[in-house]
């Protein structure tokens, strides 16, 4: 399929979706409206809400807060994940001791931690950052751990035969391998950083996209909820595009999926 026809089909899906939404929330079918606007709002109101947010400029503050929280959560979670991942992978005994607790902590639905973080860190950004960190940390941790463990034994033997000492093995073999695993999960971990921030805001905050959605919901402003969702989706797509660009630059040495050679 050519790029143009693919793009036009993608746009067609959106047009049909919005059209169905508009028709069923505005025009009665056999005497009654199938999607009552009170519950489903309608596209026109949602677009108007989004435009008024951007026109008045209130949205920028909320976007900025969510962005800062996400980036902090991603940064702190990644650094922690890399350090602990490396440590556990190189110290199998430590890893074995902590294994059940790591599994336990990872199995815990992170939302339940939000009230605790709010209690400890207040309603500001840090309770949201903490929530994001608990999500990002485990993704990065597991990937780095795997990356260090799954270094090809041949490459490792080759490095040792070339005369590498432990520190050089770290730098030239384990570290690049771990990083490649970490970067391959970049989309997931950045996504989870945003989830942590938004969920935290939703549960109690003074600013941010999650807060905006929660406020709208509190006054049954369904158009506001949908508008918040759309801004959030656009925000995540932009971040995901940036991650893709970063990833392409960092993983230039990796074969693209599909042209891997044996």
């Amino acid at each position: 399929m050519s790029r143009v026809s693919l793009l036009s089909l993608q746009i067609a899906v959106a047009v049909v979706f919005v059209a169905v939404w508009y028709v069923f929330t505005t025009y009665p079918v056999f005497g009654h409206i199938l999607l009552p606007p009170f519950f489903f709002s309608n596209p026109v109101d949602v677009v108007q809400q989004v435009i008024s947010w951007f026109a008045s400029g209130v949205i920028w503050k909320h976007l900025w807060v969510t962005l800062v929280e996400s980036m902090l959560a991603f940064g702190i979670g990644s650094i922690g994940g890399v350090l602990v991942g490396f440590w556990f992978a190189r110290q199998p005994r430590t890893a074995a001791v902590f294994d059940p607790y790591v599994k336990m902590a990872n199995a815990l639905p992170r939302v339940v931690l939000a009230p605790i973080f709010t209690l400890w860190l207040g309603l500001g950004i840090w309770s949201k950052v903490a929530l994001g960190v608990t999500l990002v940390f485990f993704i990065v941790f597991f990937n780095v751990y795997q990356g260090v463990k799954e270094v090809s034994p041949t490459v490792l033997a080759n490095a040792r035969m070339l005369g590498m000492k432990e520190r050089q093995l770290m730098r030239h073999v384990y570290w690049p391998s771990a990083l490649s695993w970490m970067f391959s999960s970049l989309h997931t971990s950045v996504g989870f950083a945003v989830v942590g921030a938004v969920v935290g805001e939703y549960l109690g905050a003074a600013a941010g996209l999650g807060y905006l959605i929660q406020q709208a919901e509190g006054v049954f402003d369904v158009a506001g909820v949908f508008a918040g969702m759309f801004v959030l989706a656009a925000f995540v797509i932009v971040i995901d595009m940036i991650v893709t660009v970063v990833e392409r630059r960092l993983l230039i040495w990796r074969p693209a999926v599909g042209d891997a050679k044996p």
Binding site: R160, M161, L162, G163, V173, A260, K261
Partner: protein, 273 residues
């Protein structure tokens, strides 16, 4: 007196080496039994044997990557109890660092021993030229063909100028033409300074064409060295031409006669398993 003694010492001497692996069920698998083999300095020795006979294992012993269960290894007369620092090892599987370019892969062996980066890169560029990849320095391994990757591997090992070269079916995964070209390249590079070479292969023709001596191993488990043939074909050799000479054919027939029985035995054991 000591000087003469040193020159008389073999580059690699395996003395009654046994190799055993502990199995998951608690038993012990004996891969190689009582292997004794000397490789003189400057000598090109091939080990040939049926699949699964422990040829590669023996190479890992000589490299110090694996410790023998019994017996000992001497490298230029001194006992080997750690990695063999005098040896370069060319692996069968891809062993290049996938996150480094061809040039970085070749230069790394010098950089880690403290050669300044600019000098290491310069010498790596020369070596890439020698293996015919002068224009491919900035490619990553996945952008190179199997044969090109082997060339980079060869340069990566040889740039360190090891006294001993250990090669584990290095051209195994390549097609027949590429193997021949790589064999000639290897002989050309080797003839420049005649390192001791221990070359493992399952391809008898390749072994005869390249080597000064061909050592035959019996089918595993507990495989032994069962034959040791001197190859007196003149050097320099061209692998394609030498395979047409009558001496080559005579030698090939004699050795194959012995190897064939072992190959059949090896298959029988593999099927009985």
């Amino acid at each position: 007196m000591t000087a003469t003694a040193a020159t008389n010492d073999a580059a690699v001497a395996l003395n009654g080496v046994d190799v055993a692996f502990r199995l998951a069920d608690g038993g012990v698998f004996r891969a190689v039994s009582n292997a004794t083999l000397n490789v003189a300095d400057g000598e090109f020795v091939s080990i040939v044997g049926p699949t699964g006979c422990g040829k590669s294992t023996l190479l890992n012993i000589a490299a110090g990557l694996l410790a023998p269960a019994a017996g000992s290894v001497d490298i230029f007369g001194s006992r080997l109890d750690d990695l063999n620092r005098q040896a370069g090892y060319l692996f069968q599987a891809d062993a290049l660092f996938p996150w480094k370019t061809a040039l970085e892969n070749v230069a790394i062996g010098l950089e880690i021993v403290g050669v300044p980066q600019a000098e290491a890169r310069g010498r790596a560029r020369d070596w890439l030229g020698k293996v015919g990849l002068g224009a491919f320095g900035d490619r990553y391994p996945h952008m190179l063909s199997g044969g090109q990757r082997k060339r980079v591997g060869l340069a990566q090992v040889l740039i360190r100028d090891p006294k001993i070269l250990l090669m584990d079916e290095p051209f195994g995964p390549l097609d027949a033409q590429t193997r021949q070209i790589m064999g000639n390249l290897l002989l050309e590079l080797w003839s420049a300074d005649r390192k001791a070479v221990l070359f493992v292969t399952h391809d008898l023709e390749e072994a005869i064409a390249l080597s000064d001596r061909v050592v035959i191993m019996s089918a595993g488990p507990a495989s032994r060295i069962i034959g040791d043939w001197r190859v007196t074909l003149s050097r320099p050799r061209d692998i394609a031409d030498i395979k047409l000479s009558p001496e080559f054919h005579d030698l090939h027939r004699d050795i194959w006669h012995m190897l064939k029985e072992e190959v059949v035995k090896g298959y029988a054991q593999a099927e009985g398993r």
